[in-house]
Symmetry: C2
Subunit: 430 residues, 2 copies
């Protein structure tokens, strides 16, 4: 698939004169994150000049809190900050977002933190944050005339894509490592479309998709995290918008975010910066902390070694949704953690399980292994003094414990199984 050029891209629709294409709302161009080269809006993801990743450039105009508050209780309330048309909410879509920001007072007390909130994205339609990014990609796929929605996935994305495609009336063909959790496989299958298991790691799946996108087989397919990635990735900004709005239009002092590809973390940072630039929140410093599983911690390893380059690893962790050994946005995560005064930390599988159970018994939130990584890293950062216990803190739970039951199944069992009699009960609880 040819990349877009500035001058003459047949799939592009933005005008060189800066005139808006209403289908993309406030988005006006694709911009190279590395060299700043600008391209018309199209299904492109890498810079022709330097091969850097492309991201969306906007001309926002005036955006007000009041206008946002009048919108629906989903991500479309922020449509004036996303590459989507004004009427996006009227088309069949999953309407993700506006998930709970839970005041986690019990967990805060247990960890010795003054103020802690959990942004709980298990409340999204397919129970992970992926519904946010996919919703934007669906709109891009519509705009570019793609009939099939595709992706490489560690599981959550596959389910989000097949569900969204079903609702939107698009075909779906998604690719996952074949050894994923059963819940994720069933969920990605049940919505219809094709689910292809690949014998290999996520990185193998990803390489396969890159091949496929260059082949006629994958022509006219929208790969949400490849050729639609600039659009898709913007969906993660809504986490930043919602957290700020739910805190009463305020950016927290520090936030802990899980890292798989690293895209989510970079976009939360972008979202906060946009809110400041638009005057929607007060300008203030904030620290971004990145969380990885020890069994797949290439970014954490680079951070601790003081490197700028990420050395790919072969993942071996129960946190399969974070098991990306060669994270595309890893270097940007390092930049952001260092620039904001945050850090990158990792935890073991045992610490992940402990953290899932800690969050569940204190706040009634049953997180996926990725959420266990975040809470485990939070605990570790507090213990090491890296995270300020007196500053306002937010952590992300990006997925649902029901999808990673095996992580806790050995310990989350009935206290007792008894006959239905008071004597048996007495004996059981004695």
């Amino acid at each position: 698939m040819a990349l877009a050029t500035t001058e003459n891209n047949p799939t592009s629709s933005a005008r060189a004169d800066g005139a808006r294409d209403a289908r993309f709302g406030p988005a006006v161009a694709l911009s190279c994150r590395e060299c700043g080269a600008r391209y018309d809006l199209g299904p492109s993801f890498a810079c022709n000049e330097c091969f850097g990743p492309l991201e969306i450039a906007y001309d926002f105009g005036r955006v007000t809190r009041e206008r946002i508050a009048e919108g629906p209780t989903n991500i479309w309330r922020y449509r004036s900050l996303l590459p989507v048309p004004e009427d996006v909410a009227t088309k069949p879509n999953m309407a993700p977002g506006w998930t709970k920001l839970v005041n986690a007072g019990n967990l805060a007390r247990e960890l010795g933190i003054r103020s802690l909130h959990v942004k709980d994205d298990s409340g999204n339609p397919t129970h992970s944050f992926k519904d946010r990014v996919v919703a934007i990609a669906v709109e891009a796929a519509r705009n570019f005339g793609f009939h099939t929605l595709s992706c490489s996935s560690t599981g959550n994305l596959a389910g989000a894509v097949t569900a969204a495609a079903a609702r939107a009336g698009l075909d779906a063909c998604v690719f996952i490592p074949s050894d994923l959790e059963q819940a994720k496989i069933v969920m990605a299958s049940v919505y219809g479309g094709r689910l292809i298991g690949i014998e290999g790691t996520y990185d193998d799946v990803n390489r396969f998709c890159s091949e496929l996108i260059g082949d006629e087989l994958g022509d006219q397919w929208g790969f949400v995290n490849v050729n639609l990635r600039p659009y898709y990735a913007e969906g993660s900004k809504t986490l930043a918008y919602e957290i700020a709005e739910q805190l009463g239009w305020r950016i927290p002092d520090q936030i802990v975010i899980p890292v798989a590809s690293g895209s989510q973390l970079t976009k939360v940072d972008k979202g906060f910066k946009e809110l400041i630039a638009l005057g929607l929140v007060e300008d203030k410093p904030y620290k971004i902390f990145a969380a990885q599983a020890e069994g797949c911690s290439p970014v954490s390893a680079a951070y601790k070694a003081g490197h700028d380059v990420i050395r790919p690893v072969k993942p071996d962790t129960i946190a399969k949704s974070l098991a990306i050994g060669n994270p595309a946005d890893g270097p940007y995560v390092l930049d952001i953690a260092r620039r904001t005064g945050g850090a990158v930390e990792d935890v073991t599988d045992a610490e992940i399980v402990d953290a899932i159970r800690l969050l569940a018994r204190t706040e009634g939130i049953f997180a996926e292994t990725a959420g266990g990584v975040v809470v485990g890293v939070l605990r570790k950062l507090v213990a090491s003094g890296t995270l300020d216990p007196d500053a306002e803190t937010v952590v992300l739970n990006t997925g649902d414990g029901l999808k990673t039951l095996d992580a806790v199944a050995a310990e989350a069992r009935p206290t007792a199984v008894i006959r239905p009699s008071l004597d048996a009960f007495r004996a059981a609880i004695a």
Copy 2:
């Protein structure tokens, strides 16, 4: 545990002079559904006079749409219609509700219905409608000074109770049939508290809890669906409120509701009637249809036989969350279906699985078996001409497919598992 009396109930707090107890908001008394006898508000559930079930009586005063719309995006926006204090939202709670009312255009087209919405309660914190009822019960438990929250459960309720107890800082001890789905067992365990598996059916578990509540072991325990049942059950009214508000303050023409104990259906009816009485919606007729699984269809059997009395059955169905063989509110369900011009219908396990897959591939909603029962019954009612395809229809999805994976696991599988090569992919999709 002694039942409340009108005159002098030590655990009661409502005044005989009608003065409000602010802890219960607009609720003023318990009222017998059979004989109308009134009792002070207390942890009581059956009438001293006739053993009929007690329910909450209110003095609402004036309630406006505007006041409701100013509230939070959860059930507490309807706090002026529930037995809870004005400040209920400020206490640690799960903040359930305000789940999506999905415009199910794809499914409507497939079934030949003009207008269809799915009220999708899989979006609740523990992914079933039970979070609604438990949230009210927690508040009642606080008011009555109970330190332990308990219940008999077919699974969803157990998870909702243990999660809510964790958040609220209460102890939990919950009881389930020991043969439930693994996801429900893990979920009910992970939040802490005690989970007791009972060797037997839900009805055995329920009988055991009735024994326990009379024993010193269960003293000072709040059994959400026994001694707190009048409060708990009111939570289901919020389904009616939300549906009406989300339709633009309008009651649908017809609604299909699953029946386990039957409580939910009776309270949706109560909710609609309250909205009409308060002038919040236009007064109009509506039909309520009840849905059961053939393997546990005592209410459907009575309806079809023209009986007023429910003959208990021993359940045998994959819809375990509806597997109550002796449904307490079964006779009221019959009354409501007949009075409103609705019906009661049931579907086989195979029809349940088909319906789960139909809803998933048309709307991207992965329902629990109970949701399959509802969509299966909807399809059957349309086919038989019992349900008007031109009338505005709403169906409830009360739970989440991730909790009943086994129902669809045999069919929801990868299309293929291949090596990461284009040739292998070509062969797989040939």
